[in-house]
Symmetry: C2
Subunit: 260 residues, 2 copies
């Protein structure tokens, strides 16, 4: 494979499309076409790419692109794809953590999943080289095309089947979305005492470093793992009247105590 072989279309102009386009541009890979349900978003994205050399398209039947990224919200993927015809020789890949590869079977024969395992925001740059890319393809030839491209964008490329990707996404919900909810509850507790959440940043960072260095089961600390009933009782007393936090406190405390 060679970098110059790639000619890319991006369908979608949301956060993921935006960061993917940036990473492709940084790697000097040609982006040919862009589509978005919102004309304004498509225009913005095109302006950002290659100084505007990409075009906005609604019909891909005669496209010269050989790779199509489908970077759309999960629930609109099937509907939007129904509107399009793609060149037979092109490789179509969606970028979703939850959709199986099979959602693309009706629109193409060379299909794949290109799932960057990261949370993206507008206006916040990420180092794409550090983002694990989870790949799955319909055949070996597609894999060659997809993995060479992934390797140009990131240092971490993994082959993950649709089945495994489901579990990976679920694990990410526990480790990221749910942890973040705990951060919010923690901030809420501090707000009542006018203590800034920032005070915990060092401790949270150290917790994460340890979890990845020695594994989260071994690195568990706190009153629950110490079986420090007195502190646990004082905490539940403090949460009295806040049924949401109390229920979460009890459930996670019991979950930790169950390790032993």
């Amino acid at each position: 494979m060679e970098k110059s072989w790639y000619n890319i279309s991006i369908i979608g102009a949301g956060k993921l499309a935006w960061h993917l386009a940036q990473a492709l541009t940084d790697a000097e890979i040609k982006i040919n076409q862009v589509y978005s349900r919102s004309e304004a978003s498509a225009t913005k994205l095109v302006q950002r790419i290659n100084q505007g050399s990409a075009t906005i398209e609604k019909d891909f039947s005669f496209s010269s692109s050989n790779i199509f990224f489908i970077a759309l919200p999960d629930d609109v993927v099937p509907t939007v794809l129904n509107e399009f015809h793609f060149p037979e020789s092109a490789l179509l890949m969606h970028t979703s953590g939850t959709l199986p590869i099979s959602v693309l079977e009706s629109v193409g024969k060379q299909i794949g999943v290109f799932y960057p395992l990261q949370t993206f925001s507008f206006g916040k740059n990420v180092d794409f080289k550090k983002i694990p890319i989870c790949l799955e393809t319909s055949d070996e030839n597609c894999l060659k095309q997809a993995s060479f491209l992934a390797g140009l964008l990131s240092n971490e490329v993994h082959l993950i089947s649709s089945e495994k990707r489901k579990s990976l996404h679920l694990a990410a919900v526990f480790a990221c979305n749910f942890s973040n909810r705990l951060f919010a509850l923690s901030e809420d507790i501090l707000k009542k005492e006018e203590i800034p959440f920032h005070l915990l940043s060092n401790l949270v960072n150290e917790t994460v470093v340890k979890a990845f260095e020695i594994g989260p089961e071994k690195s568990q600390t706190g009153p629950a793992i110490r079986n420090d009933i007195k502190t646990i009782e004082a905490h539940t007393q403090l949460l009295n009247g806040d049924s949401e936090k109390l229920e979460i406190y009890k459930l996670l405390t019991n979950s930790i105590r169950g390790i032993k």
Copy 2:
């Protein structure tokens, strides 16, 4: 105050005592004496400090130290303190996140709390300068002594009352101990699919960065906040038979959906 004024005794030789002794040594503050219920631990700690110039003591009645750190597990603090008499002019400070300042009232008049908000391990260095030190003292003079000392060890010194410290500790349990438990559950989900937990490190780190940059309530992502019922149903299906994870999944998902 001057650095050379300080003459320190440390009661306890656990993880916190160990890191505190290191930080004091690095700041060239004299450690005079060490006590531990375990002779072996005390010997090890003394060997590490000031090339062994500190001594192991069991009687502090005639000690020349002006600051005593009581770095013992919460539940043994009252018992151990009952065994000692301290010089009247000395400032006694415990280092606990949960004990009130009042536990020291029976052993001294100049008392305080010196709580470094961090999780310590043996054999893992921490940058003490970055650790928030939460201070509380019985009077202004003690505060002067404690805060000057804290400022020599850390760049972040905060005055936090016993009442507020309780909430701070509870908030830390949510943000750190409970998050870590979620990391362990996440790793468990991945293990079944033979996916290394390390794959999530970038995503977890980005989650933490965002939570402290824009606040955890605003930075919440995932199926729950998107009200993505289809994905939530697929996840609960996947967790079918694992009642512990399923219960936590449902509770935290509902907690996030309640934000709206």
